[in-house]
Structure formats: structure tokens, C-alpha cells
């Protein structure tokens, strides 16, 4: 069969020739009903019967992977799609550099690899769970559609990871696949594996921040796994990345449109000072200082996802050829990293200092640096929106030491500028830096749904370009279909 085209003859659309792989097909078909149960229980609440204008991949080549049509979400064609295999691909880093990429799991790395896949896989359903109530308060049908697109694609990413578990890890893999459906975001007994994925996503600004900051961590992780010497993982992640780009887009433009609307409303009302919070909120928009606080929160939670700055696990993942660096093959060095160092921000004798650490153990820090740089560019584009309206205000990423639960700075408090403060000071000033309960209540009060085609809620500007070039009043979701 043509590897670019998707086989729809089995229940599970795929381009991995499942028809001739009966055992895996059977395992996946066994898992499928559980997945649908999970989707119906934990997927978007209240819109399972609605027709949503979604894109579905009909092949993984550039022309075929974005076909748009109305679909009921439970009927979305989730499937197993891998980027095409590259002839002669090699392991590109670590101690196996130069060897042919593995098509099967190398025995000695089995446990390590399974762990990597399970951690990645666990984040996918978690975000669907976190976002399941948002449909009811969507600021427009356009945004509602984008939310559901993100949700079904996170669902597909779960499929992608489950395929790897079931195909390459036998009984262990099947059990792990079942556990991915058993854990629940925020559940006291069976929580999701990573902290940020157990936080609630209570409102749309949180959702946009989440897709900007937390899904961007996903992008960095997928980028590093796409470098993997284990070829099926690399191919899976490469195709996931094309979908992930849409999630970045939803986050960046969602926050951008919120900022745009706030600045426009301030200008129209003649308010110059962004700090006049009550007056600005009275206009039905979210004030910029609160947006800054939301940024501080989501940025710091997402930094925790990179793990400890100095990590032997990270070194082992790299050395074994399982997980590379961001854009590994574009980096000009020896790709062994055994002789070099990398500067790591650490707490030394009560001082925040850059310390040179062996580059191999500093890989989490390095990936996080790449992430911070990527975030900073997006924040700059938000600042441009503010500049263009003439409002005097700048959004800034907080220091990486701020509000951390994991890594070097987990036991200390710093301000967003990175100044160490004692516990008492922190307790007094916390609400200046992070959203307070009152801020949350205010944002929640803004979350009134707008379901008329072409209309958007008061607190957010309409999108500049429609999805799939559709006009502004396009009915992206036929709710009562």
C-alpha cells in the first residue's frame, strides 16, 4: 500500500499497514471501545452531537493532511499516522551516533523508552480533560471550533502513543495503554503524571495561556523526541508536530486578540493608565496587569514540566539516542556532548548564579532555554499589538526562578524579576504577581458564551483570518445539528 495514504478499511485509519499486523490491530481494536468511553465521559461536555468544522488528515503528505469538513466529534477519524520513513536514517547523537536508526526497541533501553512514551502519552488525554467544560463559555463559534480541534488532535496524539506502546511493548505496553485511560486530570487517587496537567483550566484566558505556554512545552518535547534514534517514535512525533502548530496558533492569537480588545477599549474610553484596573474591567475587558499575572502563572507551571535543570535521566535519554535536543540535526557540534559544558542557573550559597555543568546532564536546562526563547518571541508579538494601539504597557516573561515547584528554585521565593524574597514578603506580595481569587472571579464573570455566527464576546477581538479561509460569519459549529 501507499505509505502516504491512509487506510480506512480497518476501524482504525492508519498508514502503518495495520491490516497485515493482525496482533496490533486486534490490540488497538480492543482498546478502541475504552477510548470512546473515555471520550464520551471526559471529552468536551455538551457538544458531542454538534457538527464541528474540523480538519482531518487523509494522508500525511502536505496536500492531504488538512481536509476540512463538518464532523461529530465522536465520529472523528482518530487514527495512527506516522511521517514517512526516511531512507537510511541514522541515530544522530549520543553513543550510538552513526548507527542505523532502530526499527525495533533496543532491549537495553526498553524500560527507558516506555517511560518516555508513557509520560508524553499521559499529557494528551489530560489536556482534553482539563478543557472539557470550556465549550459552554466559548467567546465565539470560531473559538469553540478551535478548542474542539485541539481536543480531537490531543485525542489523536494519545492514539499515536498508544500505537507505539501496543506495537513495541507487548503486555506491558497494553497495560500502560489502559492506564492512560484510567488516570484522570486532578483526580486525588489516579492523577495525571505531571503537575501542570492536574491544574484546572477554568476559563478561556487560561485555555489560551495553556495552549501558548504548556502546549509549547509539548512542542519542545515532541521536537526532541522527533530526533529519537528509535525511528517509529521519531516518525510519530514528526507528524504530531504539524498538528501541534495549530495549538500554538490558538494560544498565541487567543491571548493576542484579548490584548487587542483590551487596548482598543482603553483607547476608546480615553484610559491611558493600564493600572486603572476597575475602570478597565468596567469596560467588559480584561486588564493588562491581570493578563501579565496569568502569564506569570502559566509560564512558571510550564517550566516545571522540563524537570530538574541538572538531570542524569536526561543525560541517559540523550546518550542512549532516545531523546535529542531541540533541532538536534541543525546544531553544529559533536552530538556526543561528553566533553562540553552548559551554563545552568543555580542557587549557590543563597545566590542565583550561572554555573557550568556537564552538557549531558544539563540537557533539560538547554531545552528549557530554547523554550524560553521561543516564548519570548511570542510575547514580543503581543507587545507589538499593544504598541500599535498606542497603549503604554509591556508584557514580560517572569524570571525562570519565579514560582517554581520543581528544580533548583523549588524551595525559595523570587519576584518575577528574579529577586529572592523571604516567605513573609512572598505571602504579602503573591497576589501582585499571580492571579488572586478575585482576579479569577472577574475573569469567570466575563465568560459568557457567544454562539451567533460571526459574533464574539466583549472581551476579545474577532480573528483576523478565518479557519480554512472562511468568511467571518461562517458557522464553525452547528451546535444543535
Amino acid at each position: 500500500m501507499n505509505l502516504l495514504n491512509v487506510d480506512y478499511t480497518t476501524k482504525i485509519p492508519n498508514n502503518v499497514n495495520l491490516t497485515s499486523d493482525r496482533q496490533v490491530l486486534k490490540a488497538l481494536e480492543g482498546w478502541h471501545p475504552g477510548y470512546l468511553d473515555w471520550w464520551n465521559d471526559m471529552g468536551p461536555e455538551g457538544f458531542q452531537e454538534s457538527l464541528v468544522y474540523l480538519r482531518t488528515a487523509v494522508s500525511v503528505d502536505p496536500k492531504g493532511w488538512a481536509k476540512f469538513d463538518y464532523v461529530r466529534m465522536p465520529e472523528y477519524r482518530w487514527g495512527v499516522l506516522l511521517a514517512p520513513q526516511e531512507e537510511g536514517r541514522q541515530v544522530n547523537f549520543g553513543e550510538h551516533k552513526g548507527q542505523p536508526a532502530w526499527q525495533e526497541v533496543p532491549g537495553e533501553y526498553r524500560a527507558m523508552l516506555r517511560r518516555l512514551i508513557v509520560i508524553q502519552g499521559d499529557t494528551e488525554p489530560a489536556s482534553v480533560e482539563q478543557q472539557r467544560h470550556l465549550g459552554k463559555t466559548a467567546p465565539s463559534l470560531y473559538d469553540m471550533r478551535n478548542l474542539f480541534q485541539v481536543n480531537v488532535e490531543e485525542g489523536r496524539h494519545l492514539w499515536a502513543m498508544v500505537y507505539l506502546l501496543q506495537k513495541y511493548f507487548g503486555r506491558d505496553g497494553r497495560e500502560e495503554a489502559d492506564d492512560l485511560l484510567r488516570r484522570r486530570s486532578g483526580d486525588a487517587d489516579a492523577p495525571r503524571m505531571l503537575g501542570a496537567f492536574n491544574e484546572a483550566t477554568p476559563d478561556w484566558l487560561s485555555f489560551f495561556m495553556f495552549t501558548f505556554f504548556t502546549d509549547r512545552d509539548g512542542k519542545m518535547q515532541l521536537e526532541s523526541l522527533a530526533q529519537s534514534g528509535f525511528d517509529p517514535l521519531s516518525r510519530t512525533c514528526r507528524f504530531m508536530l504539524t498538528e501541534e502548530a495549530h495549538h500554538m496558533f490558538v494560544g498565541e492569537t487567543g491571548v493576542g486578540r484579548t490584548i487587542q480588545r483590551t487596548c482598543e477599549a482603553m483607547k476608546a474610553a480615553g484610559i491611558e493608565d493600564a493600572g486603572e484596573i476597575d475602570k478597565i474591567r468596567a469596560l467588559g475587558v480584561i486588564d493588562l496587569p491581570t493578563i501579565q499575572k496569568k502569564m506569570n502563572l502559566h509560564f512558571s507551571l510550564s517550566l516545571d514540566l522540563f524537570g530538574s535543570e541538572v538531570s542524569t535521566n536526561a543525560a541517559n535519554f540523550y546518550n542512549s539516542g532516545m531523546k535529542g535536543r531541540f533541532q538536534e540535526t541543525k546544531i553544529d557540534d559533536d552530538h556526543h556532548l561528553t566533553e562540553t559544558t552548559y551554563p545552568v542557573l543555580k542557587l549557590v550559597d543563597g545566590q542565583i548564579k550561572l554555573v557550568d555543568e556537564p552538557a549531558l546532564t544539563a540537557l533539560n536546562m538547554r531545552l528549557r532555554d530554547d523554550y524560553v526563547a521561543d516564548c519570548a518571541k511570542g510575547v514580543e508579538r503581543w507587545n507589538k499589538i499593544i504598541d500599535r494601539t498606542g497603549v503604554k504597557f509591556r508584557l514580560e516573561l517572569p524570571a525562570t526562578t519565579f514560582h517554581r515547584q520543581i528544580g533548583e528554585f523549588r524551595d525559595v521565593n523570587t519576584t518575577p524579576k528574579g529577586v529572592l524574597v523571604d516567605d513573609a514578603t512572598w505571602a504579602k506580595t503573591r497576589d501582585q504577581y499571580l492571579p488572586s481569587r478575585a482576579d479569577g472571579d472577574f475573569i469567570e464573570s466575563m465568560m459568557r458564551p457567544e454562539v451567533e455566527p460571526g459574533k464574539v464576546a466583549s472581551w476579545i477581538a474577532p480573528p483576523k483570518v478565518g479557519i480554512d479561509n472562511k468568511p467571518g460569519d461562517f458557522e464553525y459549529v452547528k451546535i444543535a445539528a
Binding site: 502536505p62 488538512a66 504539524t242 502548530a245 500554538m248 496558533f249 492569537t253 478565518g466
Partner: protein, 397 residues
């Protein structure tokens, strides 16, 4: 042809979110970036369009007609896209049908009957134009060449299928392609390009085929038509285009489409009808065809038309030379259907397309005027309004 004009592919820095998908997707590394912007290198981009659909934002789908390509440095410095610099053609101020002067002249002449500036329907798909030119033509392979007028008929009209294999050649219904006949003319110059409307819908003669169909009538002493009609299966043809950005089909399923044609003027309407049938068979809008020929044997696609269900297309086939029957021209038939046509002309969802020989224009126009007079509608006002909203189209030759 004006060799200095270029259609440059650009990325909108205000919309782009720097996700790197385009750079990752581009098979020939024409996309690059700095800390500020993602940009396309005009000296590398070959318009393969692979980057267009994966872009999550739509930032990738921007084009400017330029005399000199914007350099990478210029593009890196942008905070927003520069406006389209207007060329010297006053009528085509914002719609560019083609970048080639000779083709522009042909299209301008063909669209003259619109009686003003030609405007695309509001719901039409944004067309791609000028991917290939004489200097860099696409090479198509003939996959089929079938006579579609009866064997005994005087006219020899053919349905020719051209396959583009792995070359990207995106067309939409209503667009034309240029055929470059080989050889030189009496004065020693290469033959001029001829335009042919595509007769197949955007996804190919059969769904998902990378080919187009043409409807070609053999003209006595016609250089290009004889060249095409004589082509054997497997022969290779130089193709330019696609061209045309106004005579396009509305995507709105509620749009009523009145199609009036003679002879090979039926080609775009075959494409329109097939597009509706494939993409929106339940569309509430009506498709209405007035199609004139001398005799049924000379009416292109007479056989296939018999199989098109009336639910999809209302057909009025008119013959002017059938022995023993009165001569009926398309305008006569339009008058017979005056009630229905009058009602449709009142509707803002109605689009009119006229395609065929220049001679049919005045007769059709008079028929519309008569119908409107009886229905107390001011045809000139309605026509003006339809033209301005992209609902009145003429392509005649």
C-alpha cells in the same frame, strides 16, 4: 510577455506565529527565518504549494505582483506586509487575472462583455495564477483525446485530458490554461499562446487526479486547435497558467447559477456542474444551463448531458439547424423561460455566466432586457449591481 513581472510568495508577519511548519514542510528549503520573521526566498520557491495547507494561521498564503522581488533582508525587516504596488493597468486594479501581457490582453478582450470591471463572486475560492509561463512551462502528458461530437457531424470537437504527474498545477473551475503550440509562425517567431477553459473540476477529471480536461474544437487552419486535436495519447504538451481570477464559480451552495453557452463555451460549465455534483450534491441553489448548437450531433457532451440528473442541473438545449424544426437560439429559449429567469434575477444569490462566441452576447442581453421589462425590473440596474457584486460574468471570443 513581460518578463520582469513576478508573483512573489510572501508570509504575513502579523499573522505568522513562527511555528516552523512551513520551513519544515518546504521540500526545497525556500523558507527560512531570522529572529524577526519567517520568509520565502523568491529565487528558490517553485510554487509547489506544499506549505500552504499545513500552515495553521493562513499567514503563508500571501502574494504580491512585483517588478523586483523583495529580498530576504527586506522581508526580515517587515512588521507588516507591504501593500500591493499597482501596475499600470487601470481596470485590473485589485484583481490580477494574469501576469503575462499577452494572456492579459486575451482575457481582457474575452471579459469585455461584462461591461465594466470584472469581479469574482464573493464566495469563490481564491485562485492561483501564473505558476507556469513560457520560460518555465508545465509539461503535461495527454491521457486521452476523445471526439465528443458525432462522427458524422461537421464539427470535430474533442475532450482532451492532460495529466500533470508530479507537477503542482492547482486550478479551479472557470480558470483557463495556456497551450504553447510548438514551432514558429510565418515571421519566424514562436506561436502565440492560446487559452482554453478547463472543463474539469478542481480535483481532476476523476476525483483526486492531477489532471485537467479541455474542450477543443478543430478550427480550419487553426494552429493550436489542430495541434491539440491531433495529439496522441502519451504526447507531451507545454502548458502555462493557470489564468483567470474573476470568471469563477461561487462556492456558496445557495448560489443559483445561470449558465449560457454555445459550443466549446460549455467547458467551464461542465466544470461548474461537476464541482457541484461532487462537493455539494444537496446544494439548495439551482444550476440552469442554456446551451446552443446547430444540431444535437454537434453539441459537445450531448451524450453525457443526458445522464445528468435534473435535480442537479436544469438543461435547456437549443438547436438552430435541425431540419423541420424552427431555429432556436439560446436567447429564444431564455425568453421561453422568462418567468423562471425573471424570478431568479430578482434573487441576490443568482449568478449569470455567458461563455461562447462573441456573437451571442447581444442576443442574450436583449433577452434579459425583455424579460426584465415585462417583470418591471430595470435590467441595466440589475446587471450593474450583479457585476459589482461579482455575479455577472462574460467570457466570449
Amino acid at each position: 510577455m513581460n518578463a520582469t513581472v513576478l508573483k512573489q510568495h510572501l508570509i504575513d508577519p502579523e499573522i505568522c506565529i513562527r511555528c516552523n511548519t512551513c520551513e519544515e514542510t518546504c521540500p526545497i528549503d525556500a523558507v527560512t527565518h531570522d529572529d524577526n520573521n519567517y520568509v520565502v526566498d523568491a529565487s528558490i520557491c517553485n510554487y509547489c504549494m506544499d506549505c500552504i495547507s499545513p500552515c495553521p494561521t493562513g499567514a503563508i498564503d500571501n502574494w504580491r505582483v512585483v517588478a523586483r522581488a523583495y529580498s530576504l533582508e527586506e522581508q526580515f525587516s517587515w512588521e507588516e506586509l507591504p501593500p500591493q504596488q499597482h501596475a499600470a493597468t487601470p481596470e485590473a486594479s485589485d484583481v490580477v487575472e494574469t501576469l503575462e501581457d499577452d494572456v492579459a490582453a486575451i482575457l481582457a478582450e474575452a471579459h469585455k462583455g461584462v461591461g465594466g470591471k470584472a469581479i469574482a463572486p464573493a464566495s469563490a475560492t481564491k485562485p492561483t495564477i501564473n505558476l507556469y509561463n513560457r520560460g518555465k512551462p508545465a509539461i503535461a502528458t495527454v491521457r486521452g483525446n476523445y471526439r465528443i461530437t458525432a462522427a458524422e457531424a461537421e464539427t470535430d470537437t474533442r475532450h482532451i485530458i492532460l495529466d500533470f504527474r508530479d507537477q503542482s498545477f492547482p486550478v479551479i473551475e472557470g480558470q483557463s490554461i495556456g497551450i504553447v503550440p510548438p514551432g514558429i509562425d510565418a515571421s519566424g517567431k514562436p506561436h502565440v499562446v492560446r487559452l482554453y477553459s478547463i472543463a474539469s473540476p478542481r480535483d481532476g477529471e476523476k476525483p483526486n487526479a492531477n489532471n485537467v480536461a479541455l474542450t477543443v474544437k478543430r478550427e480550419p487552419n487553426g494552429i493550436c486547435s489542430n495541434y491539440l486535436c491531433d495529439l496522441a495519447k502519451g504526447a507531451e504538451v507545454q502548458v502555462t497558467g493557470p489564468f483567470g481570477a474573476t470568471f469563477l464559480m461561487p462556492n456558496d451552495p445557495a448560489a443559483n447559477v445561470i449558465m449560457i453557452c454555445t459550443g466549446t463555451g460549455s467547458a467551464p460549465f461542465r466544470a461548474f456542474t461537476e464541482r457541484r455534483r461532487r462537493a455539494m450534491p444537496q446544494a439548495p441553489g439551482k444550476l440552469l444551463l442554456f446551451f446552443g448548437a446547430r444540431r444535437p450531433e454537434e453539441l459537445p457532451y450531448f451524450g453525457p448531458l443526458q445522464k445528468v440528473p435534473p435535480r442537479l442541473l436544469t438543461q435547456h438545449l437549443c438547436y438552430s439547424r435541425v431540419a423541420g424544426a424552427p431555429k432556436t437560439y439560446v436567447q429564444d429559449r431564455i425568453r421561453v423561460e422568462s418567468d423562471m429567469v425573471g424570478n431568479l434575477l430578482r434573487e441576490p444569490a443568482t449568478h449569470v455566466y455567458i461563455c461562447g462566441l462573441k456573437g451571442m452576447e447581444s442576443g442574450v442581453d436583449e433577452a434579459f432586457a425583455d424579460i426584465c421589462r415585462h417583470a418591471a425590473i430595470d435590467w441595466n440596474a440589475v446587471k450593474g449591481e450583479m457585476r459589482a457584486s461579482g455575479r455577472y460574468h462574460v467570457e466570449t471570443y
